[in-house]
Symmetry: D2
Subunit: 297 residues, 4 copies
């Protein structure tokens, strides 16, 4: 079993850390919120007094933080950057969803410091984090990827190697931008069909079996009542919040700008989610963008 | 076996008619192109001297025409509208892809004339027409749908009842609009990933297994070389032409306008396909829209 | 003075006809609404029993109708098409805003019938119709344009010759599509500036004097209170209704589809106006699209 | 006359500095490119050995740098931040076009250091810089604005006070985003009209006098030959490069993301300019986006 430092015990981080504990790893945790540490300790983790404390002597560090600036501060810019603390041969795994440029800058600094770094953002939400069924999209060398795989297997189901450092963040940005396109496209097709008098469940089934089939339509139908377990049938509660989709689309736009990769569909989806958020629906599941299309009550 | 009049022996109509012949039906065919009639006759059909000739005494008429104006002329406005010719109890099946408003107007006239009408546009392309594996999206009463099902089963695999008259056209417009969104969204995600250095095959596989999964990505990858049998790997030849997608998106815009159903994503896809066609690529498969995004050579 | 038949006495047609009467022309009017005829008669026009009656012996016919189908019925398809009634040398002026294809079809029929036809849609609204300050965008031969100019001068201020038959409708579709782009673009720039803390009046003035200057910003500011006389400062009442902008954008999309002219910006503006209308604001002035961008109350 | 330190002698900075020299100011210049310093010295400026040297004892510092990171390094993060060097009462004027967040961070640091800061991005291009006819969009206190006005008057014609610190950058981002919308909207209206057979010069004149009037149409027509002095008539050379418009639209997207201000039209224009740049036209004037719409040769 490995010694693992886990930094960031939020809605995603805490259940991920608990799965590492359950698997028998020796896990030292740190977060700014003491109650989160207490919860992890109650499950068998050890409390670390600081991020540095969690990283000292660790074989692996896993970080799960809100944004690029926090990741940059942890590994590069803070008072005691972790790359100066980690023992030789240790691997830092950053599972935060951040911009690829920061992931690449952190990865370059890791190389300079003689430690390994893998960017490994996840998808699957809090439910996947609890169940240990997350997908991990990893960027880094094949060798480092092979080393982290057993650790990630404990927290996830699909562990993908997307390419070199930063590729995990890039793959996630591409995937989530595409997801936003699938969801908005599905919403407007179903809304138009319904305005024309078609039953959304019937139209959904037809398109699902035809060339309109896609993840949003197939497993996450945005029309209330069509799928019993979809957020749409539960008042758009839970699921993947509009606020998070807006954040991810911002990262996709940054990438588009840096690479000069044209993304007219992703830009359009971002505009729609931005309008939906501006109307006060940031905390609803992202399939609630259907209401943006709907007629006034 | 039924007596069937078949009108319109183009790239789609001819193989559809041949499947009816093969199934043992008594098929009288008409087209303005004599060589098409000759081909059907060689396979066992009877030549009719006119559309009226093909329809006289038929149990079913199947029409497969280019646009709404032709369907309107055949059944309503021409010199001898078929609804004045069909025997009582006959069913007219229009498999043309046309605007829903025309389908509804023709359907209303059928009711007035005491005959049945089903709008039944198809998807599946010329390959599906030849193999008898088309999807039929049908609009009409449940009773009439039940009557045409055995006839359509001979030409297709999935026979859907979308709703009342016109619902077949509406479902097709919704589906194909959504398909255009899936394809363009997939293209730009893959293009951005590739510009960032990711292998398109790897990124495709990751998104296919994640929430970016969709028909275009899963079975019709637009990047040359990723899927051996996709049009992208054959110089974008064959498949579903950009020109036809532009036509279908025009029908979707008409529907959006009539219903005032907002379709920002479909509108965006139409704009992109229109640009792609303007650049001279109308006859390439619709997955070739990838080249619109690509860097100049 | 000329004998003029005027057909269509709606919100625009009636004041236009009255200006012809005031100028001393001999005007015979027809409309399906009798009270409109009565109002025109009270001002000095003669009541005609039918469109045919208004057109018989006229030097000019002016038509002001809601849509292409009405224009087509009047001149081409109705029981007694006017082109069979007009005396040789008469000129038909259609000031309806309709699709260019219908205008061209009607114009071709006029040539065949030996009479002249000018498509002459207007801009300027009901206020311009009353004041005689409309703009007329005319399509037809230079010779016919020269003949109608004195008649149009009585009802308008700017009389443009856009080109051959249909060019008036095309110019109007292009102009109004561009206007929708100017208005939505102005709204979102002002909304973003205001969210960042800038005074909309200050930002408006800066952009007006810079390269952001445009008709919507300069004379029709969409932010309440910035311009005293703009519809925005009067609860978005009056002006040019969202419903009419949506109609005009539908005509522009038809044109784009027929010509395969890509219009991504116009398509985007149409999507936004369609959403705005779906939310119940069809009868507000088109500058009210600002509220689509605004935060929820 | 004032002592002015000028930092950044690029295509814009050098002619701006020369106008300060011509007006009689005592100007110390610094740039990393020695030939630029030499050119300024030949015109009467003094060479400074470093940015710090240029700023020491200055009444005003003017900086004209490529991006936010350079401005941040100069005033905040570099080895010797200028705010530690400037004498009490000095004013720093940053005329770079950068993100508002950086301008606000720099402004806050200026307050902390007891010096004044004005963000003052310009528009008007290299021609305006040479002629001293730039527009300055300023953010800062009314008092500080009043102090810098005489200095800016020497380099520009319109000196606007947009609001508090950062407001200059915000106003510029809003204006240039709107400009991109005007240009693309104008291009597609003119392209559609031309495809329909209208003369672009005639259609331009009609829309200019109608509600389609806007800066791009009125003074910067994108169709070659319509305006003799527009970049379009000179092979799209000179003017405002596509690359710069793409940069400015990136700043606008950042602002939109931070404020959650929906910008569907600006997003669309960014997508189009990104495609245009990807096709290899980054160094052409931004009105060349017309060619993106045009049919293949």
């Amino acid at each position: 079993m490995a010694r693992i430092g886990f930094i960031g015990l939020g809605n995603m981080g805490l259940p991920m850390a608990l799965n590492l504990v359950k698997a028998g790893h020796d896990v030292a945790v740190f977060d700014l919120v003491e109650s989160a540490i207490a919860e992890a300790v109650a499950a068998g983790a050890q409390a670390a007094p600081s991020a540095v404390g969690a990283a000292t002597d660790a074989d692996f560090v896993v970080s799960m933080l809100p944004a690029g600036e926090h990741v940059r501060a942890l590994y590069l810019d803070g008072d005691t950057p972790l790359f100066g603390v980690l023992k030789s041969g240790a691997v830092a795994i950053d599972s935060s969803t951040i911009d690829a440029a920061t992931a690449q800058a952190v990865g370059a600094a890791a190389v300079a410091a003689g430690v390994a770094f893998i960017d490994a953002p996840v998808s699957g939400g809090t439910a996947g984090a609890a169940a240990g069924t997350l997908s991990f999209l990893c960027g880094g060398s094949a060798e480092d990827f092979a080393r982290v795989q057993p650790v990630l297997d404990v927290m996830g189901k699909n562990i993908f190697h997307a390419g070199a450092t930063g590729a995990g963040q890039i793959a996630k940005a591409c995937n989530n931008m595409l997801l936003s396109v699938l969801m908005t496209g599905t919403c407007e097709a179903l809304n138009m069909g319904a305005k024309a008098g078609l039953d959304p469940a019937v139209l959904s089934e037809i398109m699902r079996q035809s060339s309109g089939g896609n993840w949003a339509l197939n497993v996450y139908n945005p029309v209330p009542g069509v799928m019993e377990n979809a957020p749409a049938s539960k008042g758009y509660a839970g699921g993947f919040m509009t606020d998070l989709m807006v954040k991810d689309l911002g990262l996709a736009m940054d990438l588009s700008q840096q690479l000069n990769a044209p993304v007219p569909m992703g830009s359009q989806a971002r505009a729609l989610y931005s309008m939906h958020k501006a109307k006060g629906h940031g905390r609803l599941d992202f399939s609630s963008v259907l209401t943006l299309y709907a007629d006034a009550d």
